[in-house]
C-alpha cells in the first residue's frame, strides 16, 4: 500500500466564479518594473511550443533568458511533429461554440480528472493563441474568402480546430522559434543547443539552477538563475515504442522529482488509436496518422474473424464499422481512449487484420467517392504520402491499417494554478506538467496548452514569483552547484564504467515491453505488481550489465541514451505504482477490474476523484502519495457517454 500523506496539496486556485478566476487572479499578481526585469535571470529548458513561446515572451518583457535544448536547433523540438491542429473557441463556424463548450468538452474528455479552473483558463486563452500565431505569419489553412478554415476533432460536436495541412505543429513551432530567434538577435536570449539537463540545483529549498551536459564536448556545465522553467515534454518513450521522437525522455522531469518536485498521475498515458502498426522486432519508433483522418476515414474490421479476403473485396454488409455501431452519436470521432480500447477489443477477439492480426482498417473509399480524390488529397496528402513511404501501400486504393500506440502523457510534474511545482521557483509548462487534460487529452489540445502556458500564463505568474521573493545572491560557485554537479557526473561515469554485455537499447526494449504488456491499454493488479518486480530487477541488471563504449568526453549518443534509460527504469516503477494505487478506470487508465458491463471505463468518484502526486523520499524508500482533491462545480460528474 502506498504511504499516504495527511495534508492535501494547495493548488492556489483563486476564489470567484470560474469565468472570472483568471482575471481576478491576474489583478492580484505582483509586477516587476520594466527597469528591474533586466536584473532577473530565467532558465528555460526545452524549446518546443511551451519552451520557445515562454522564452520568447519572457525575453520580450526584459528578463535575461537562457534557453536550452537537446536538439541541434531549437526548431527541431518534438512539438514539430504534431499533425492535425489546434483548438480555439473562436466560433468562426457559427456552430454555437464558446469558451464554455471548449471548457466543458475538455473536462469531459479528460474523464473528470483535471482541474476545472485550469481548463477554463485554457479555453479562455485559446482565442488569443490563434491571434498571436497569425500575427507571426503562421500560414493556417484559409477559405477562399481569406478567412481561417476549421475542421473537427475527436470528442466534440463543433468545428473549432485550426490547421496547416498535416503540419500544424511544425508551423506553430516555427512561429514560436522565429520569435525566439528574434530575441537571440536582441541579446535577451542566450541559446544553448545540444545541451541535456541532468539535474536541478536547489539552494535553501528554492530552484536556483541546472546542471547540464554539452553533448558535443561532453563537458558538464552549471547555470544559475532566479527561476527555472521546465518545458521538457512527456515520458512516452518509457514504452520504447511510441510516436515520440527518439530523444524525448523523462530525465529532466525525473531529476526535478528527485529534488523535491512531486510527480502527478504518472499512470495517465495516452494511447493514440490511429498509428501505423508494428511491423517487426527491429522497429525503432511508431508513426502517428493524424486523428483528423477520422473526419473522413471509417474504421472497420471484417464481421467474420476468418475472412482473409483483401479489404476491397469485402462487401459493406460483411464489414463491422464497430465505432459507428457502438457510438452512433460520435461515430468515428469518439475520443482517443475510447477508440483505442475498441480497436484492442476487436483485435483481442480475433477480428484484427494484416500480417500480425493486430490492426484495423481506416478506409477512405466512401469519402473519395463522395468528395473526389482531389479533395481528399488536398486535406491529407502529406499523411497519405507518409503512410505509403512506410508501408509501401497506397491508401487511396486500399484502406490504411492502423493500431493504437503510445502518443502523449497527461501525467507530469505537479503544478499549482501558477504552474509552479512543489519546489519554489521551478515552473513546469506544456506536456511536462499534469494540469489540463485529466486522464485523457482531446485531439488538438496539446498545442493549445503548450502555447497558452508559454505565451500567456507564465509571463504573468513568473513575474509575481520574482516580485514576491527575496533572493540571496547565488552563483555557480555555491556549494549546492558543486555537489549537484558531482552527483550528475558520477552517474554518467558509473554508466561508462559498468562494462557489461547488454546494450542500453536492448534493455530499453525490454522495459518497454513490460510497460506495454502490464501498464498499457489495459491494466490489472496482479500484472502491475509483477511489472514492479520485473522493472526492479531490470534496473539492477542495467547498472551491472549495461555496455556503453567510448568516453563521456565527446559526442557519445549511446551514452546519452543509456542515461535516459536509467531514468526510465526508475520512472517506470512509479508509473506502475500509480496505476496500482488508482483502483478505478478513467480515461486512458483502464483497470480491467473496473469496467461497466459494456466494457467502458468505470470511475470511482467516491474514492479517487483526486490528483495523485508522488513525493520522492530517498533512493531506498517508497514514494509517498499526496492528494489534491478535485471538485467539479461547473461540469457535474457524470459517466462519460459518446453513444
Amino acid at each position: 500500500m502506498a504511504v499516504v500523506a495527511a495534508s492535501p496539496l494547495a493548488a492556489k486556485v483563486p476564489a470567484g466564479p470560474i469565468a472570472e478566476k483568471w482575471d481576478l487572479h491576474k489583478n492580484s499578481l505582483k509586477l516587476v518594473s520594466p527597469t528591474n526585469r533586466r536584473k532577473f535571470d530565467v532558465i528555460v529548458v526545452g524549446t518546443g511550443l511551451a519552451g520557445a513561446s515562454a522564452a520568447a515572451s519572457l525575453a520580450e518583457l526584459g528578463y535575461n533568458v537562457k534557453a536550452f535544448c537537446i536538439q541541434d536547433s531549437a526548431r527541431r523540438a518534438h512539438s514539430i511533429a504534431a499533425q492535425g491542429g489546434i483548438n480555439a473557441a473562436k466560433n468562426y463556424r457559427n456552430d454555437n461554440d464558446s469558451v464554455w463548450r471548449l471548457f466543458y468538452d475538455t473536462v469531459k474528455g479528460g474523464d473528470f480528472r483535471s482541474r476545472e479552473a485550469n481548463v477554463y483558463r485554457l479555453a479562455q486563452l485559446s482565442a488569443n493563441i490563434i491571434d498571436q500565431c497569425v500575427a507571426q505569419g503562421v500560414p493556417f489553412a484559409r477559405e477562399y474568402g481569406g478567412m481561417l478554415a476549421n475542421r473537427t476533432f475527436g470528442g466534440v460536436l463543433v468545428e473549432r480546430t485550426f490547421y496547416a495541412r498535416g503540419q500544424t505543429g511544425q508551423q506553430l513551432l516555427l512561429g514560436a522559434y522565429s520569435a525566439l530567434m528574434r530575441q537571440v538577435t536582441t541579446g535577451k536570449v542566450e541559446m544553448y543547443p545540444r545541451r541535456e539537463m541532468l539535474d536541478l540545483v536547489v539552494v535553501d529549498g528554492v530552484a536556483r539552477g541546472i546542471v547540464c551536459r554539452n553533448l558535443i564536448t561532453g563537458a558538464f556545465e552549471t547555470h544559475a538563475a532566479h527561476a527555472i522553467v521546465l518545458c521538457t515534454g512527456g515520458y512516452g518513450n518509457a514504452f520504447y515504442l511510441s510516436t515520440n521522437a527518439k530523444a524525448c525522455n523523462v530525465t529532466a522531469a525525473w531529476r526535478c522529482y528527485r529534488r523535491g518536485a512531486f510527480f502527478a498521475n504518472p499512470c495517465y498515458t495516452q494511447i493514440h488509436p490511429t498509428c501505423i502498426p508494428v511491423s517487426g522486432s527491429y522497429q525503432s519508433k511508431l508513426t502517428l496518422m493524424s486523428e483528423s483522418l477520422r473526419n473522413d476515414g471509417r474504421v472497420w474490421v471484417p464481421k467474420d474473424a476468418n475472412d482473409n479476403r483483401p479489404p476491397n473485396e469485402i462487401p459493406d454488409d460483411q464489414r463491422d464499422y464497430y465505432l459507428e455501431r457502438r457510438y452512433p452519436t460520435y461515430g468515428n470521432m469518439v475520443p482517443r481512449d475510447v477508440a483505442s480500447r475498441a480497436a484492442k477489443e476487436r483485435c483481442d477477439a480475433g477480428y484484427g487484420v494484416g500480417e500480425s492480426g493486430m490492426a484495423v482498417y481506416l478506409d477512405f473509399r466512401d469519402a473519395i467517392a463522395r468528395d473526389g480524390l482531389e479533395v481528399i488529397k488536398a486535406k491529407y496528402g502529406n499523411l497519405f504520402h507518409m503512410y505509403e513511404k512506410i508501408t509501401a501501400e497506397n491508401p487511396y486504393q486500399v484502406p490504411m491499417r492502423i493500431y493504437p500506440a503510445v502518443h502523449y502523457t497527461m501525467g507530469g510534474l505537479w503544478v499549482d494554478y501558477n504552474l509552479e511545482s512543489t519546489v519554489p521557483g521551478l515552473f513546469v509548462l506544456g506536456e511536462a506538467n499534469f494540469s489540463d487534460h485529466g486522464a485523457n487529452r482531446l485531439g488538438a489540445s496539446a498545442l493549445m496548452q503548450g502555447l497558452a502556458d508559454g505565451y500567456f500564463v507564465v509571463p504573468y505568474t513568473l513575474g509575481d514569483f520574482l516580485a514576491r521573493t527575496v533572493f540571496p545572491k547565488v552563483t555557480i560557485n555555491h556549494p549546492s552547484f558543486k555537489e549537484t554537479l558531482v552527483e550528475a557526473r558520477n552517474r554518467v561515469e558509473r554508466i561508462v564504467a559498468a562494462g557489461g554485455t547488454r546494450t542500453a537499447d536492448d534493455i530499453h526494449r525490454q522495459l518497454g515491453q513490460i510497460l506495454w504488456d502490464k501498464c498499457g491499454m489495459a491494466r490489472n493488479a496482479s500484472g502491475l505488481s509483477e511489472a514492479i518486480g520485473e522493472i526492479q530487477s531490470l534496473r539492477e541488471e542495467f547498472w551491472e550489465n549495461v555496455k556503453v563504449l567510448g568516453t563521456g568526453e565527446a559526442l557519445n549518443q549511446n551514452l546519452e541514451h543509456a542515461g535516459r534509460v536509467a531514468d526510465f527504469l526508475e520512472f517506470g516503477e512509479l508509473m506502475c505504482r500509480d496505476a496500482l494505487n488508482r483502483e478505478e478506470s478513467c480515461g486512458g487508465h483502464f483497470r480491467e477490474e473496473h469496467q461497466t458491463p459494456e466494457g467502458e471505463a468505470l470511475r470511482d468518484d467516491e474514492n479517487y476523484c483526486y490528483v495523485a502526486a508522488w513525493e520522492h523520499r530517498g533512493a531506498d524508500e517508497e514514494a509517498a502519495l499526496h492528494t489534491e482533491p478535485l471538485s467539479f462545480e461547473y461540469v457535474p460528474l457524470t459517466q462519460r457517454s459518446y453513444k
Binding site: A81, A135, P139, F140, Q171, A179, M181, A245, A247
Partner: protein
Amino acid sequence: MAHTLNLTLRIWRQSDRDARGEFRTYDVRGISTHMSFLEMLDVLNEQLIQQGEEPVAFDHDCREGICGQCGMMINGQAHGPDRETTTCQLHMRRFENGQTITIEPWRARAFPVIRDLVVDRSAFDRIIQAGGYISVRTGQAPEANTLPVPYEDAEKALDAAACIGCGACVAQCKNASAMLFTAAKVSHLALLPQGQPERRRRVVNMVARMDSEQFGNCTNTYECEAACPAGISVGTISRMNREYLKARLAGVEPNL
C-alpha cells in the same frame, strides 16, 4: 511481404571536428526490406557495440520526416534515392541484396563535421536570426480574421514554410549554397500581408548573413530542389532575387 538483404556499408568515420576522417567498411546481414534506413543503421550500431567498436554517430529524432534533424549523403545523394523523402523515411526496400552503400555526412564548409555523420548546422539558425521572423510581441496581435489572406497566397506561403531546415539543399549543391533554405523563409513571409512591414530589411539582412556564413553562390543547377525532402521549389529563389533587387534599388543596406 518482407524479404532480407545482405549489404556492404562504406561509412565516413571521423572522431571529432579536427580529426582526419576515413571510410570504413562494414557488412550487415539479414536486413528486412520493411526497415527504415536509420533502423538499418541501428542494427549496425548494435552489432558494432557487441564487437567493441564505437557506434556510428548520426543525427535523427522524430523519424517521421518533419524535424529535419536527420540527413546524410547516401551513394552521393542527399537523403538517398527517393524524391521528397528524408533519410528516416527512406526504406530498405529501395535497395538490392548484395549492394554496397556509401554513407557520408553533409559536405559543406558552412556545416563542419562534429563526428562521423553529424554536422554543425547552426549557420541556419543565424540566417533566421538575421530577419526570418515578423516582429510582433506576445500580446500585440489583432483579432485573427481582421486580416484576410487570399487562399492562393496562404497555400503558396505554406508551400515555402514547409522547409524542415535539414540542409539537404546545401549538401547537394556543388557550391554548397544556402539559397533554397533562405529563399523559402523569405518567400513564406513576403507572401503574407503580416510580413510586409519588414519585407525589404528582412531579405537584405538574411542574404548578408547567408553570405557571411561561407555558403557558396547559386549557379542555377537546381540540385537543391531535386534533393529537398519538403518539395521547396526553386521558384522561391527567383522570388528572393526579385525581393533582394527591389530592396537594394530602394536603397536598403544590410544592418547585422
